[in-house]
């Protein structure tokens, strides 16, 4: 319990520091934050209204008062976010909450399908490679996964765009968001290519990881015991061995999350998925302060929550780790 609390406290601390730094960046890199928030070329009455709506967005002055001014702005922003008011994008004429509602699902499904594609590729390849270690097919698969691992997402995207999207009429160049339950086929059409762009790389990473882990597992005593007891080879491989190797896979899924989000920004732009990432890029260009702050906070929160979750899950699943980590 103490272990869990220290982990959580630490991540909350990190979250606060990161979001504060982001806020600082939006203020420092700006001549007039209020005008940026108001959307650039607007009259004084609009500025005055924006200032009244969001009093915690303004330029801080003075060397001594700068830090307290920033901290109070941060505190008021956090207070607002927790009461459900994440702000308003005057440049896009949309509240930030609506923006999340509109664009969030696209990014969510993109990430989910990327992970699913990665796992579908990685699990069979990893298990097979470990089982038939150093066989010709394993060599080829290892080489292949290394090559894929070294392929920049941008290059994968270019290839998919050139070889698939432009030739196969089934895949639209500009996808819209369709919920999977309202029209599964349409959903697949729209999300397959961008998710594949992200998923291929993930699959390569995970298959290598799973292979290495499974090779160790297959040498351990309990596998020999299971074999000696006469459990069928398939069952040993897919149930006994895979189960104990899945832990490291889970950790990797969590560790890859921040890379996945980076990749999602590129994939969204490339295939013009109307997701959060594309919105963030535009927001940074316009210094749309509250949108930047809200999206980065959401992203960091997601990374942090998943990390804490995996950490705790790990400790729950494997008591040895709980002990070891508590000592460290």
């Amino acid at each position: 319990m103490r272990y869990a609390l220290t982990r959580i406290a630490r991540f909350v601390f990190v979250f606060v520091i990161v979001t504060f730094l982001v806020m600082l960046a939006t203020r420092i890199g700006s001549k007039d934050p209020v005008r940026d928030l108001a959307g650039g070329q607007v009259g004084p009455e609009v500025i005055a209204k924006v200032e009244a709506d969001f009093p915690y967005v303004r330029a801080c002055e003075g060397t001594i008062t700068y830090a307290p001014c920033m901290v109070s702005q941060y505190a008021r922003w956090v207070g607002d976010v927790f009461t459900g008011n994440m702000g308003y994008s005057y440049a896009q004429n949309q509240s930030v909450v609506d923006m999340f509602k509109q664009r969030g699902p696209s990014t969510f499904w993109l990430g989910v399908w990327a992970i699913v594609i990665g796992l579908i590729g990685a699990v069979p390849i990893g298990v097979y490679s470990a089982y038939k270690r150093d066989s010709p097919l394993d060599r080829v698969l290892s080489l292949g996964s290394f090559a894929v691992l070294s392929t920049p997402q941008l290059v994968i995207a270019v290839f998919l765009l050139y070889a698939v999207a432009n030739r196969v009429a089934f895949f639209p160049n500009i996808p819209d968001y369709v919920a999977p339950w309202s029209n599964p086929v349409e959903h697949f059409r729209n999300f397959f290519l961008p998710a594949l762009t992200l998923g291929i790389g993930l699959g390569a990473v995970w298959s290598r990881l799973l292979r290495a882990d499974m090779i160790l597992t297959l040498q351990s005593d309990f596998i020999n015991l299971a074999r000696a007891k006469g459990v069928s080879p398939n069952r040993v491989l897919w149930v006994h061995a895979l189960r104990s190797s899945v832990l490291s896979l889970i950790t990797s899924v969590a560790l890859q999350l921040s890379g996945l989000i980076s990749g999602a920004v590129v994939a969204e732009q490339f295939f013009q998925v109307g997701g959060i990432g594309g919105r963030l890029v535009i927001a940074v260009q316009q210094n749309d302060i509250l949108v930047i702050q809200a999206i980065t906070a959401a992203v960091v929160a997601a990374v942090v929550v998943v990390n804490v979750g995996v950490d705790l899950l790990y400790a729950v699943v494997d008591p040895r780790i709980r002990q070891a980590r508590a000592l460290a």
Binding site: F15, A25, T26, G29, F146, P152, V155, V158, L161, V266
Partner: protein
């Protein structure tokens, strides 16, 4: 005391293949990297490389396909794609290599301190890493480059090339420091460090004469894989519109700006993509071979 894992003791199972550094793959990769570096370095003096910004007047069709005239074709403004790829290599390599050097120096120093001093210093530096790592790299890069653009209006030397280099350096610090810290932690508990300490060696002597030389193989490997990662990151950044200032260009920028014309002039996008892919692969192969040769774990950035 060098990290000689090749000299296997009697209990260690001898590997099937000798663990040499120079294998077919790594020789090929090194050749590619050296060749590319030379081409990029001497681009201005080589007769077969046209100036990347020069428009070619000889062709009226400014989207000429690949052929004898234009090895990689010409782009929508009639510029030689091959030349632009080579000049792009100049920028891509320079930015990535400069950043990894900063990353290794700063990250290495922080990691060394954290791993050796331990205690409160270690905890503080660790929180710093947590902050840097909890943020998706590309989003951090976009934010910082975007903000630096505004500052750049008042600072004449702060071109995009500089801000991209600054950001990539910043991104490479934390992962490198993590690796160095872990290595330092395990090295500082080894017998030779204990021996040096019992001979009366001071802290500085142990750090610089005992631990640092043993970190070199890992750092070389990290440098290669790191350059690969940074080139990819630069590509992503360029694609989002945060690349070097025109008219110079990096591979990522070439891919990004020619992408929309891919169905009429595929060569302007595909060739830079191939260059990026092969180069990243080559860096990875060399880094991986090196890591295996010296039996380094956690060398992945």
């Amino acid at each position: 005391m060098t990290a000689a894992s090749g000299a296997a003791g009697p209990t260690v199972r001898t590997p099937k293949r000798p663990n040499r550094f120079l294998t077919g793959g790594s020789v090929l990769s090194l050749t590619w990297l050296i060749g590319l570096t030379l081409l990029a370095f001497f681009a201005d003096y080589l007769p077969f490389i046209r100036y990347a910004t020069a428009r070619t007047k000889s062709v009226t069709n400014y989207k000429a396909g690949p052929g004898l005239d234009f090895w990689f074709g010409s782009d929508r403004l009639g510029r030689d794609v091959f030349a632009r790829c080579i000049y792009g290599a100049q920028i891509s390599l320079r930015v990535a290599v400069a950043s990894i050097i900063v990353g290794i120096v700063v990250g290495g120093a922080l990691g060394l301190i954290a791993g050796y001093v331990k205690g409160r210093t270690d905890a503080t530096i660790n929180v710093l890493f947590d902050v840097l790592l909890s943020f998706p790299a590309l989003i951090l890069a976009v934010l910082v480059v975007g903000r630096l653009d505004v500052l750049a209006a008042d600072v004449p030397w702060l071109t995009r090339t500089w801000s991209v280099t600054i950001v990539l350096s910043l991104l490479s610090i934390a992962p490198i420091a993590r690796i160095v810290r872990a290595q330092t932690l395990s090295l500082s508990e080894r017998e030779f460090v204990l021996a040096a300490r019992s001979l009366g060696a001071g802290r500085m002597r142990i750090l610089f004469k005992e631990i640092l030389p043993n970190l070199v193989p890992a750092m070389v490997s990290v440098a290669f894989t790191g350059v690969a990662v940074l080139m990819v990151a630069e590509g992503g950044l360029a694609f989002l519109g945060y690349s070097v200032e025109s008219p110079s260009s990096s591979w990522g920028k070439l891919i990004a700006e020619n992408r929309e014309k891919i169905d009429v002039a595929w060569w302007a996008t595909i060739f830079p993509s191939l260059m990026l892919f092969i180069t990243v692969l080559a860096f990875n192969v060399v880094g991986d071979r090196f890591a295996r040769r010296f039996d380094i774990r956690e060398a992945a950035l």
